[in-house]
């Protein structure tokens, strides 16, 4: 298949502002879009810059805007995009170069909700017990690969880059609803603030963008309800 790739380029050393670049590549329908980017980089233009590592959708390196939507380049197949594709860096992050965006602020936000197990009592000699139902309660959030696709798709984030954004809340959810954790109240207090959970306007771009199929908005809504009602970590 012959594919026309329109790519948004920007090199801070050379360019005052971003511009469009075009490449034509010959690809197999079951190749990944990442393969097409590699083909460009390796055979046409070595300066094309993007992140990638695992090449199969588990490391979260290559979230970018593909035909207007945030996707992982390694999870989009050529046969699903057809003959023409537009690739841009994600919105909501400063662009470092071409498709590479600065994720530092993203990780700082993630850190702000204490994304680690908080326990106050002493550790048992073996494992802490947890029933399969309790484990299932927070399963969705554990799938997150911190790719940032959700946060970069959220109009609330575009408007206000200080907002913690959906990925942070998903990861807070993962701990708030873990029956072993004892820091839930702390996290809810953080998320109840001005740049906390309330800036989510249930826009659902996040859930659509998540390459891991996490029902992001649903998890955010559970956190909102936990803030309003309090409640137990048990199954809803």
């Amino acid at each position: 298949m012959n594919v026309l790739m329109r790519i948004r380029r920007f090199d801070p050393d050379k360019d005052n502002k971003p511009y469009w670049d075009e490449f034509r590549v010959e690809m197999d329908p079951i190749d990944r879009l990442l393969d097409a980017l590699n083909t460009v980089k390796w055979t046409m233009d070595g300066t094309l810059t993007y992140r990638r590592s695992c090449a199969h959708g588990v490391c979260g390196s290559d979230a970018m805007r593909i035909n207007g939507r945030n996707r992982l380049a390694c999870k989009v197949l050529i046969r699903d995009i057809g003959n023409k594709v537009t690739i841009e860096p994600m919105l909501g992050y400063p662009v470092l170069r071409d498709l590479v965006v600065d994720m530092d602020a993203f990780f700082d936000k993630y850190k702000s909700i204490k994304p680690y197990l908080i326990t106050t009592d002493s550790e048992p000699g073996t494992e802490r017990l947890q029933s399969p139902e309790e484990r299932a309660r927070y399963d969705e959030g554990t799938k997150c690969i911190l790719c940032g696709a959700c946060t970069g798709s959220c109009p609330s984030v575009w408007g206000n880059p200080d907002w913690v954004g959906p990925a942070t809340i998903v990861n807070a959810h993962r701990f708030i609803f873990d029956s072993r954790d004892q820091g839930g109240a702390d996290r809810l207090a953080i998320l109840g603030q001005r740049n906390g959970v309330w800036r989510c306007r249930t826009i659902f771009n996040c859930a659509d963008a998540c390459p891991r199929g996490i029902p992001v908005t649903e998890l955010i809504e559970q956190v909102k309800r936990a803030i309003v009602y309090g409640g137990d970590t048990k199954v809803e």
């Binding site: 050393d13 992140r51 199969h56 490391c59 197990l117 947890q130 399969p132 873990d178």
Partner: protein, 578 residues
Amino acid sequence: MYYKFDVVIVGAGGAGLMAAMQLEGASVAVLTKVYPTRSHTGAAQGGVAAALGNQEEDHWKWHMYDTVKGGDYLVDQPAAEVLTREAIDAIYELEHRGLPFNRTADGRIDQRRFGGHTRNFGEGPVRRSCYAADRTGHMLLQTMYQSSIKNQVRFFNEYLVLDLLLNNGQACGVVAMEIRTGEIHTFHAKAVMFATGGYGRAWRITSNAFACMGDGMAIAYRRGIPLEDMEMYQFHPTGIYKVGVLLSEAARGEGGKLLNNEGEYFMERYMPTLKDLAPRDIVSRCILQEVHAGRGIDGKDYVYLDLRHLGAKVIEEKLPDITDFARNYLGVEPITEPVPIQPTAHYAMGGIPTDIDARVVIDPQWTPLPGFYAAGEVACVSVHGANRLGTNSLVDLIVFGRRAGKHMAKFIKESSHAPLPPEPESYSRELVSTMFASTGGESAARIRSALQNEMDEKVFVERDEKGLQEALDTLDRLQDTYTRVQLQDKGKKFNTELVEAIELGFLLECSEATIHGALARQESRGAHYRTDYPHRDDANWLKHTLAYKGAKAHDVRLDFKDVQMVDDPVFVPKERKY
């Protein structure tokens, strides 16, 4: 820039982070060329082995037996004992740090079957692999990263380490390039640890990430440290056809079976006891035998992995990611169709030689290089010998990562910073500036591609003298071409073309050591199968190879190191049958 820390850890995968966790109170820097959560550990699917006995009776000694036998007796047995004993505590530590394992009905860590893990010294499969759906590695990596946030570990993300600094036979730091700015920095430390993972990108069909370029191994190798057992490279039997993306052994642990074009579950014929759960080297070879006998699907070089009889519930709930991969990359629906698979390059059993405290040892006499540590896939404590069992790598990371951390904690208390060598950055600066200056017109991508083709063809599941010789000649030529690699991208900021070119240099050197080991080892053992020497030869080859770098690909010097045994009759080498 110049930075000074007590400890510098290179690599933020499972091994690096586990070590960092043990160093509370010390000043620690973790350098990684990708964001920590993008490390390759996150790709591990199946599980992590430990004889907890939550599901059925189990003992660390059975686990040790399986490890030793699975490694075709090339395993250093005292290390295997440490691995399997300490696995249990390490798993509890992970659980306490928050790792969301799947649970049994009574709330304990759930365990499932995995290839080569047996009860009572080989009687039948046992449930030993602790898991979190089919994303155990992801959960492990996330948990370790979360713990490091809690412990306020200092990360240097997207820093490519280029060189190891040694002075008077002691490690004293590393030099790294900050990818974002292109600047070179020196990190001065009392102890340096490498946890940089494997080099699976030397092959085209591979389960490994783009980042798995053998950096750590090659950097050490360039500094005169040998690489151990590099010929022992594992090919996982079930990679997605043509793509190489892994379908975890968990699929077979849950009951999946391999199918040939005659509709036969052929593993039952080869390995009557463990069937599809035989160790990976064996299963990969059986697949190749089926293909050679014309029983590959459509006469091609692949067979099927059949999950259909497991039912939609098990497939969706216990193997969600795998199912997703099959759907996404092959357009195959595993609930109703068998999945095309072929062996894929997967794991380096060999690497930088270490002792059980993860100290790097540089000769057959086990002489440590003070201040230098290694753990994880980059290292070879030799708990995997000639073939690693599924789920034994993650245990390796956490057990020896932890030991490295604990030993470094002690080491830095007892020692002070060794002075840096004169002009510590000169090697790295030159490496980068020659890359920029070169006008040779060669492309790194083309060289890498040629290397991968050669490795796929001649240094695969089966090897022979002739092929290996040819591969070595090719490598010699490629290394020569490599000196003429020219960059299109002359920018400093985020120059990934430069990064890829530097990494290719690492990859070429790891491949060189691999081919030399494979040529020398005139026997078949574990993952190393020589068609011209099809039998194991304990009389001559119950020993490790150590490859020392020479001037060119042909000039590698090999040395040998005895396999360490424990004094117990069950661990005496026997023929490997399942």
